[in-house]
Symmetry: C2
Subunit: 487 residues, 2 copies
């Protein structure tokens, strides 16, 4: 009975529908994306386009606009009679236009505007940083992060980033991997490098309300110190011991005072972990196949957009991606790589240090020497790698780790087989004073353990390599780096 009242007092969505249709833009039902217009042949039926004006050309009694709505790199030409053009129409403004789409005598798609109105104007004389028909270098554009997506090159990057991340997920899903959302907030420092951000509530009242006597303020909220994750690998190892094949793909943080063209304070990492994996070769195979498949799929499906992007950024660091897709990756042990570098020591600047790994210059040199085909570096000295990597059976001072070196970026991926011998692990963890905080990590090996391994791939570096983005800050929507965290 009570439902009777309820039923009477409300508008059903169908009622609301008809009510709203009266006040809604009359064009709504036939509003098309520009991508749809370019993918379907023009039918001469009227279309409605909503987007931003990328250029304005006036000729005789006509006005020609290039309009983009973000759905594609293509701009649709809109032709209108000067008499119907609103006064505040200019470069940068947003418009709605309707009329038939035709193929013009120059074989271009063209919307013959019967109606054209400005939705939001754009005053070029009042602070808008981009002038029409002028291209700006990335550093200038980066000063205006909130307007950067309006540039043709960065909106193209955003679409390509989307396609690349979708293709990565698709590849892993099709290969039976399950995505796990590993936490950003963590009480572990997986890499042990200490480059973590520490986190606490910003609100004093919350801290006061939650505090226990004698407790450090830093431990109040979570009853222990909490950090931003530098890797989800240890958590993925938990998951691989139930779901077999897992991955995570999300933001990762480093509190490093590094402003290089390859470092960010917040970046995206794909991490893959596979159970019952006990061979380095299988791990390399997984990495190489993933990289080749994802690159070739993205290039097959989005070649036009990629060419458009590359033309705009005019990349000096042009990568021959076909080369990466078609040629087998090289495999070198750490010692072999070091020997090669020694043999070519005149050809690079930075000295090769005995007890240390490679600098970015060394990495890029090795790749160049291999004709810009990626190189796996395997069998690393244990002291250069985190505690959890599996000891090599032939040389106990080595671990079964791998770095994948690539054109443009040097190290793109890092991985390893994980140490599955509980007593070796426990000994190493005792030395590092980790047995208490990582007791659970030993637990997952005590019960129903399996050999496992995996790798991480820096997603922005992947984009840098695939597209030729020279600065990593131009491969992510909102870059964060030392002294910079706007928005």
């Amino acid at each position: 009975m009570r439902m009777a009242f309820f039923g009477n007092s409300v508008k059903h969505i169908s009622v609301l529908n008809s009510w709203c249709n009266q006040t809604r833009c009359r064009f709504k039902s036939i509003h098309s994306k520009i991508s749809e217009i370019f993918s379907a042949p023009p039918s001469n039926t009227p279309a409605v386009i909503k987007g931003w004006v990328k250029s304005v050309r006036k000729m005789k009694g006509m006005i020609f606009l290039d309009v983009n709505d973000g759905s594609t790199c293509h701009k649709l030409q809109i032709v209108a009679s000067k008499t119907t053009v609103p006064k505040n129409l200019s470069y940068g403004c947003s418009i709605v236009a309707s009329g038939p789409v035709i193929l013009n005598p120059q074989n271009q798609l063209e919307l013959r505007a019967e109606e054209l109105s400005v939705v939001g104007s754009c005053d070029l004389t009042n602070g808008y940083p981009f002038l029409p028909r002028k291209s700006y270098d990335a550093e200038y554009v980066r000063q205006y992060l909130h307007l950067r997506p309006r540039t043709n090159s960065f909106s193209s990057l955003l679409r390509l980033r989307h396609h690349a991340s979708w293709t990565l997920r698709q590849y892993l899903n099709m290969n039976g991997y399950i995505e796990v959302h590993t936490p950003v907030l963590t009480s572990n420092d997986c890499e042990g490098a200490g480059e973590t951000f520490f986190v606490k509530p910003n609100c004093k009242a919350t801290l006061e309300a939650m505090a226990s006597p004698g407790q450090s303020e830093d431990e109040v909220f979570f009853k222990r110190k909490a950090y931003l994750s530098v890797s989800g690998q240890l958590q993925l190892e938990i998951m691989a011991r139930s779901l077999s094949n897992v991955y995570s793909f999300g933001p990762i943080f480093r509190a490093e005072n590094s402003k290089s063209r390859l470092h960010l304070s917040e970046f995206y990492m794909l991490e893959v972990e596979k159970a019952f994996l006990d061979s380095m070769n299988e791990l390399l195979e997984i990495m190489e196949k993933l990289l080749k498949s994802v690159l070739s799929t993205v290039f097959e499906n989005h070649r036009e957009e990629i060419e458009h992007y590359r033309k705009m950024v005019n990349c000096a660091d042009y990568t021959d991606v076909e080369n990466i897709i078609s040629k087998p990756f090289q495999v070198l042990t750490f010692d072999e790589a070091k020997q090669i570098l020694r043999d070519h020591s005149g050809q690079f600047q930075e000295p090769l240090l005995e007890k240390e790994g490679f600098t970015k210059e060394h990495e890029l040199f090795l790749v160049k020497l291999n004709n810009n085909v990626p190189v796996f570096i395997v069998e690393w000295p244990a002291h250069m790698k985190p505690f959890y990597m599996k000891a090599s059976t032939h040389s106990p001072e080595k671990v079964l780790a791998v770095d994948l070196l690539c054109p443009v970026v040097g190290e793109l991926c890092g991985g390893s087989l994980r140490e599955d011998d509980c007593s070796i692990l426990e000994e190493r963890m005792q030395k590092l004073n980790l047995t208490e905080s990582l007791d659970w990590y030993l637990d997952i090996r005590k019960y129903g353990n399996v050999p496992s391994g995996g790798f991480g791939l820096g997603f922005e570096r992947f984009l840098q390599m695939a597209l030729g983005v020279s600065n990593i800050k131009d491969a992510i929507p909102f870059p964060r780096w030392p002294k910079n965290c706007k928005f």
Copy 2:
């Protein structure tokens, strides 16, 4: 010439392949996932299975195992002769088994093990918290977050979470939305509720090296205070003004001292923003269609797994999802909803306060009254909502906001049209002292502005509603809540 040396010193992957095959598990090439075996009819050809033992039954000279590898909710029965069974075979251990898969006289798939070995044993007497054939309540299991994925119910939840997040993305991609990775680190507090976590480097040396004279330590790293994002909406508004239709799907943080069954300190949120959106009705349509489509796709494609999960968690809060998929959602204004509650005030505990919104009890009561079909609440008092929402044209003290109330969880989504009148916005921001920190937010409206709107959906609550998960901590792999941040 130098390549000659390089070429000689290394093993090509093909060489490494054959070298590794000798030391690798001889079963590797025909290792099958249990999901593959259940999706393809048995062929009587030998298969190799790697997974974990879920139960052991001994009968006469035979042993029967149920084995799962995480690829499906199905367990494969493995039958072996007692004489070939290793001593440390037990519940919880990991195994490799090979032999033909047949359909047995009981019409069940069965692997007749010719070889069977234990990879990692599981000592039940030494701390493993789960006994065979015993089911535990969620609270007990949650004490062992690192072993929780080993339980049948939680591994099922993890697969369903993966399927649901994939389906959400798929739906948005197919409808022309572009995924944007909005930042976790931010200098804005979008909701203005002050429930943010503050972030700084953990390393004293980094802080000292980067400090400028007179600067607060809290501002050293980013030159301003940085927080964890409570919403990516403002950033999505930037993106919608170039790409038109965008979404983000990632972790979101609240430093609230709340331990309810519906709150987490870190949770996943889907956020959608659409340009050229100027009607509340269109916004409701987008929300309703997305929810219905995603629910019906997940239920169509994974019904067996969902039924399996629901049986195990034995959910009291059973949701009739068919009802949500097939019936039109209700629409009420805030005032109408309040009147309905007043008229039924004897039927719930918590008092209705004049100047306030609804409690969880009120929300759930409204949904129940609507036969457990979701209810949109529209036209909210402006003082209850953030500054950026569009003022209603009929009643200026109201804003064009919407909360979607659903069974089990109450508020599932919140959205609005965004205020696009620059002078109204500026006035509100001045009152809140935001014009300096959010100058860019005004900028994106000054240049080529468009009306826009969107919503956020709490992903764990979506899972709670869809699957009947009573506590949100059991809907996420690594829950973080006050006093809890393990791993």
